[in-house]
């Protein structure tokens, strides 16, 4: 440490004048000012203003929102679209996160084996991460098309008529979930793999010397050591997943019969910018905030029981 600091060389050492003139608290304020100002104007103000708009009736155009109390919330709770959208969002989030992360963990274990050629497989696993959401949505519309694309081979071989996933209200959401799994699986696999790489080889070797079989090793050592990471990825995965918007907006617009495949954020967008109901949309946004907050708390609570600290 000492040699290191001695090695630090400043190209322009200057006299202590500026620090005398410039008190530390002022530097602190100046340096924090840009972010603090932006947080005030674009985070705190809008958050509280959103709560107010959610208690009003407004279409963005009228000079002032009209106060109506909790009417927007009551209307939402009586609206079957709202419940459908909530259900869709939860189904989407839980299916993508649990299926994708289970697959991703298995994939990461395989990628971590000491064979040649793994770099190539890792590259393939990474491809969904460089595919931006809008491009991914377009590609999957093509891939799921029953006439063009690789699925047509499968349909032909099975001798069944091609299923038009996105044109059917029962399957549209599942098509979007499939894309969600594809995206999330790639993301989590990379993280799990990096986590496995960081496991201390001494612990693993010691267990092997003690005669632990590979299954015992997995259950007793690798899984407990990986739980903090699994927990982290689950929380962030669920919170990311309930926010899904781009896939829905491009693949189905919530259709084919609204709200068959609409999710929370898409519904929020539709209420605000298609129906111009700023009040209802804001109420939805507040409920969304509570949902995310709740998810975080539940995950934090449950994690205390099974996350291995150590």
């Amino acid at each position: 440490m000492i040699e290191q600091s001695a090695a630090v060389h400043l190209s322009h050492p200057i006299s202590a004048l500026p620090s005398k003139k410039f008190p530390e608290w002022l530097t602190f304020l100046l340096w924090c000012a840009p972010n603090l100002l932006l947080f005030l104007v674009f985070t705190y103000y809008p958050f509280f203003f959103n709560i107010y708009i959610s208690l009003t009736k407004w279409n963005f155009l009228n000079p002032a929102p009209i106060f109506v109390g909790v009417e927007n919330y009551l209307r939402l709770f009586q609206d079957s679209d709202f419940w459908r959208v909530l259900l869709n969002t939860l189904v989407y989030a839980f299916c993508t996160v649990f299926i994708a992360q289970t697959l991703a963990f298995v994939l990461a274990l395989l990628l971590n084996r000491p064979y040649r050629g793994m770099t190539f497989f890792r590259l393939l696993v990474f491809t969904p991460q460089v595919t931006i959401g809008a491009a991914a949505a377009l590609i999957w519309i093509l891939l799921l098309d029953p006439q063009q694309g690789p699925l047509s081979i499968l349909y032909h071989w099975l001798e069944i008529p091609g299923l038009r996933w996105l044109a059917n209200s029962n399957t549209a959401l599942w098509a979007i979930i499939l894309v969600g799994i594809w995206r999330e699986c790639s993301f989590s696999a990379i993280f799990f793999w990096a986590g496995l790489q960081n496991l201390s080889s001494e612990v693993l070797d010691a267990a092997r010397v003690d005669g632990a079989s590979s299954w015992v090793l997995l259950y007793r050592i690798i899984l407990p050591l990986m739980t903090p990471m699994i927990f982290f990825l689950m929380v962030s995965g669920l919170i990311q997943a309930v926010k899904v918007f781009d896939l829905v907006a491009i693949m189905s617009e919530g259709g084919p019969v609204y709200p068959a495949s609409a999710t929370f954020v898409y519904h929020l967008y539709k209420l605000a910018f298609r129906d111009f109901q700023a009040g209802s949309a804001s109420a939805l946004a507040i409920i969304f905030f509570v949902l995310i907050f709740g998810l975080t708390l539940v995950q934090l609570k449950s994690s205390q029981r099974w996350v291995h600290h150590g």
Partner: protein, 275 residues
């Protein structure tokens, strides 16, 4: 547990699912129109053509979309990291009476999702007359607690002597930040910049809300727009050419930075632990 061949078999199965979309996009982007609908589908174009890229650029102003994406994602990400460096340094090394409170207030913003600020922020943009401007695409997306938090934690883990030595040498805080702290944090800064840029490049929601003129749309929205036009709507070769074009910057960025990041991390390990 699982032998070598089973490992490879399962990996091939997984990777087929994960890499097929990207492969199919590239393949379709180079197919002439007649080949797109061929049955059985061609895995590789029989007569590869570059014509689709030119056609896609004629069907929609992709040059403009690209420019918009580069400007908004680039400036937003640079400002975000710059302000986060300043704030992270202030929280880590400077004394201030209400520091703890301010820190909590900044971290708490991570609990407020973008969606819960959307409508008021949209009205702010309307009132300021910022619709269809780069300012609207950039400024509200700049402040983020995540990079502040990561940089703060990283700065705190730096050897104390490093900062003290700079102080003894008479360096101002500005000099300490740029000549001592940032060079010792290259990898973290690089990763955060990359992460921020990719997020901004991907953004669909905010850009969709604050622009409605075609000339101000960004690449992701441009892609969806092309899908809705007469020329692009059902011509999958054009759409895939455009999609490939929109993802290329990310591919290049990752190819370049992958090596850089590894090198940086190794360098830091050497500096810190001497091996």
């Amino acid at each position: 547990m699982v032998n070598k061949w089973a490992t490879f078999a399962i990996l091939v199965f997984f990777c087929f699912f994960l890499a097929l979309p990207y492969f199919w996009m590239i393949s379709t982007a180079f197919k002439p129109l007649e080949e797109v609908a061929a049955y059985p589908p061609h895995w590789l174009p029989r007569q590869p053509t570059l014509h689709n890229f030119a056609l896609a650029w004629q069907a929609a102003p992709f040059g403009r979309f690209t420019l918009n994406s580069v400007i908004s994602a680039g400036i937003s990400c640079i400002l975000q990291i710059f302000f986060a460096l300043l704030m992270g340094y202030a929280f880590a090394f400077l004394k201030f009476p209400a520091k703890r409170f301010l820190f909590m207030a900044v971290i708490a913003t991570m609990l407020i999702p973008e969606e819960a600020k959307l409508i008021p922020n949209y009205t702010t943009i309307l009132r300021l007359g910022w619709m269809n401007t780069y300012t609207a695409l950039i400024i509200p997306t700049v402040a983020h607690a995540f990079p502040v938090f990561v940089l703060f934690q990283w700065f705190r883990s730096l050897p104390r002597d490093l900062i003290e030595a700079a102080k003894v040498d008479g360096a101002s805080h500005w000099q300490t930040l740029w000549q001592v702290v940032v060079p010792a944090s290259r990898a973290v800064v690089l990763v955060l910049t990359l992460y921020s840029f990719v997020n901004r490049w991907n953004d669909y929601f905010w850009a969709l809300v604050v622009t409605d003129k075609l000339a101000m749309r960004t690449l992701p929205i441009g892609l969806a727009y092309l899908k809705g036009t007469q020329e692009g709507g059902n011509q999958w070769n054009l759409l895939m050419a455009a999609a490939l074009f929109a993802t290329l910057p990310l591919v290049l960025l990752f190819l370049v930075t992958q090596k850089l990041i590894l090198q940086e991390v190794q360098l830091i390990r050497k500096e810190r632990f001497g091996n």
